[in-house]
């Protein structure tokens, strides 16, 4: 579970996130007004894709070296096993995104309030992405190179997080109240913390068939 030995696993999502976001000032326009207008969507879509790419590290090596079978055989509830895996995944790929996000906020000409809410919304939203991803990854890990199928399965589930995350940043940027959107994100988080591990544990059992 210590992915930190393999530095690439931690760095790749962050570098990907940074590069995707920085493509927009280069390609669309460097004008501050336009950039700050599209920033919420751009940052959240990039975070979504970075998480999606990092999901492979959740079970892939475990599946290849057979330790996924040992995890399923661990004499404890598989919900706890999945929860531990997801927590490790979030710490190694979600948290770095949150840490780098203020820099990207500056790059996208967000104001102080906007940057604060970017971090907040990522903090509440990225665990949801990891939790939902664990379900999709459990279902697809035994299928070999399943990146495309995983995206098709998981991306639609990410849409609510994207909507509320991006609109919270947009509202904060315009000086409006954003607590409603964050509350919705919080609701999504508590819903997925309580239910997604159960579904992901069932998916894990399918993975070792």
């Amino acid at each position: 579970m210590s992915a930190y030995r393999n530095l690439g696993q931690v760095l790749h999502p962050v570098v990907f996130f940074t590069i995707v976001v920085s493509l927009f000032p280069l390609s669309v326009t460097p004008l501050p007004e336009t950039l700050s207008l599209i920033a919420p969507g751009v940052i959240w879509v990039a975070a979504l894709l970075a998480t999606l790419l990092s999901l492979d590290s959740l079970y892939r090596t475990d599946y290849e070296d057979g330790s996924i079978e040992q995890l399923v055989l661990a004499p404890c509830s598989k919900v706890i096993v999945v929860f531990a895996k997801v927590l490790a995944h979030w710490l190694s790929s979600g948290v770095p995104l949150i840490i780098i996000s203020p820099l990207l906020g500056v790059l996208m000409h967000l104001n102080g309030e906007g940057i604060k809410v970017t971090m907040l919304s990522l903090l509440i939203g990225t665990p949801v992405l990891s939790l939902l991803g664990a379900i999709g990854m459990g279902l697809t890990v035994s299928l070999g190179r399943s990146g495309m199928l995983l995206s098709i399965l998981v991306l639609p589930l990410y849409i609510p997080v994207l909507i509320f995350g991006a609109s919270a940043i947009a509202a904060a940027q315009m000086g409006l109240a954003y607590s409603g959107q964050l509350a919705f994100l919080g609701a999504l988080l508590s819903l997925s913390i309580s239910l997604a591990p159960i579904a992901a544990a069932a998916a894990l059992r399918i993975a070792v068939r």
């Binding site: 210590s2 030995r5 090596t61 057979g66 079978e69 040992q70 399923v72 661990a74 004499p75």
Partner: protein, 225 residues
């Protein structure tokens, strides 16, 4: 006096593992059907059969990964799916892919498995690493080890486990001659202590220990043309 013999402890009435009329179907092919046998405490059972006969499928059924098309597996008289955690706390499985993490060191791998499986309370991890002949490699990354050495890391779990039932899929693969002899004596010692071992292998035991053989081909379904 005869009444006394009825008051045997409950555990004695059941064989440790009971395979009851198992049938396995993989991609529309019936691999074996009506496979029944018992494994008692103190027994070593070798599952034999040609490639594709269903040895690994049978092992996976025994571990509870696969559900048999018919029949059931019982452990101490209880279906293994009835009380999964109870069964899993008495089971040690080392599969063909042995679950040794390449990016962790030998010691970290063993510590991890000591944490997630039932382990002897007096287990000494460095003794176990010494026991499998990897003394001096404690802090070596498993990605730097050879296939045989990695197999030994996985087998070190046998020295610290508390499980009574060992299920091993091709445990002798990649082991050198000395390693094979060592593993055989370890399996025999475990059986002598009242444990049970189920393993698959194409090789025969070198030593003359009495082991039970199960040839899957005897239960193969004769296709009707």
């Amino acid at each position: 006096m005869s009444e006394l013999s009825h008051d045997q402890p409950l555990e004695q009435e059941f064989p440790l593992v009971q395979l009851n009329a198992l049938e396995c179907v993989r991609s529309d092919r019936v691999l074996f059907t009506d496979l029944s046998t018992n494994v008692l405490s103190g027994e070593i059972m070798q599952i034999e059969g040609p490639n594709g006969a269903g040895k690994t499928s049978l092992i996976r059924i025994l571990c509870g990964f696969l559900t048999p098309a018919a029949g059931e597996v019982s452990f101490k008289g209880k279906s293994i799916h009835e009380d999964v955690i109870f069964y899993q706390s008495h089971l040690l499985y080392i599969g063909h892919s042995h679950g040794v993490k390449a990016e962790l060191t030998v010691m970290e791998n063993l510590t991890f498995y000591a944490g997630i499986s039932s382990t002897k309370s007096d287990a000494n991890l460095s003794e176990a690493i010494k026991g499998v002949g990897l003394y001096g490699y404690e802090d070596a990354l498993c990605s730097d080890l050879s296939a045989g050495q990695r197999r030994r890391v996985a087998l070190a779990r046998l020295l610290i486990t508390d499980a009574s039932l060992w299920i091993l899929d091709e445990p002798f693969v990649a082991l050198d001659k000395k390693g094979v002899v060592w593993l055989e004596s370890l399996l025999i010692a475990h059986a002598k202590q009242g444990g049970a071992v189920i393993f698959t292998s194409h090789q025969d035991f070198i030593s003359h220990a009495s082991i039970k053989r199960l040839n899957i081909n005897e239960f193969a379904c004769i296709p009707d043309f």
